[in-house]
Amino acid sequence: MDELQEKAKQLLEAGTVQVVIGHAAGRGGRRPVFVRSPAQAGKLVHDDGCWQNLATYLGKPEVRKLGRAAVVASPPVLRAMVQLGAERQLGNDEVMALAVVTGGPVRTLATLAAIEGHLASLPDEPPAADRTELGRLAAMTVPERRAFWAEQLDRCVRCYACRASCPMCYCERCTMECNRPQWVPVASHALGNLEYHIVRAMHLAGRCVQCGTCGKSCPLGIPVHLLTLFAERSVQQHFGQGGKASGKPVFAMSTFRPEDSETFIR
């Protein structure tokens, strides 16, 4: 057993947690797994193929019912847990983390406060490949970007895999479900898709943990994570505060500073 499996086994044996949420081998990749007995701890793996943000399961009643959980958490998962705590979705002592870095040591973090402290020492930025893509899009002209997003978003079928896989999309009644009046069109036509993805990017601005799970979850390979990453970067650049720069969550879009500045308001 490796360090991760050993630590998970100990937590389960001691009854500290009733379930360890992690990844296991799946068909041609990795899949989320919910280990409930020490004997099953050998299933747990962590490598770069483990991209699904497991913090999303902390919003799922069927998973919470299993009991107190420890989450095998890469940095974006840790960021999500802290942000969920800041937004009152998780209590400080409710969930533990087994903080992992591929090929690195495993740290047991028993509270959200401990996770926050641990995060302060870690970089908080999107993966390099995504930064490159953002740069490529930023270099395009407005009509070129319009053509790019039109081509991409027109393919969207509104399966909501992006929303379902995102730990920060935990609303029991999402804006998409507001139907008196129907605010965002349900139909996956061009306008409905554009509106949905813009709304989602805006609702994540300042809260996005930059994991890229939304884009990777899209069955059609639409890079929707670029929209949320962009909105997040916009918040960080303009207001000098992201969701969790320095580990501490800040509520960038529901607060303000009188000295916030811009050049476009006449």
Partner: protein, 157 residues
Amino acid sequence: MGTSVTTPTPLKEGSTFEPKITAFVCNWCTYAGADLTGTSRIRYQPNVRVIRFPCTGRIDFMLILKAFAHGSDGVIVSGCHPNDCHYTTGNYLARRRWIVFRDVLEFTGIDLRRLTFAWVSAAEGAKWAELVDEVTDRVRALGPYREYQALASAGIE
């Protein structure tokens, strides 16, 4: 007494296009300011439809896109100057929202020349007229926002 603050740009020869401008404004400042424009008998172009909100903080950013989808060629969003909000903080929150929303719109390739934000106070009747005239002229020159309106029927079989 009827003075026009600006002279509208003449239409291109033969063109009869008149832009539709929707303005989302706050009740306490910009709406009152627009009232003052009227009582001062300042004339300005009639292309704007004004929609009154209690505060710019109440303006959902999606309303801007809804206006374009429903046929607006240009949109104005205007409210109280920072530090003057009737509800103290509404416009500060709106400002943050507009900053990010504008960035996201530009990132997705939407024409920002058609969207104008302003602070117009209850005393700035002249500014309101100037603003509307300038925006109307600019949007008239840009033409109808057909590209966005076409989205409404794209992708339906």
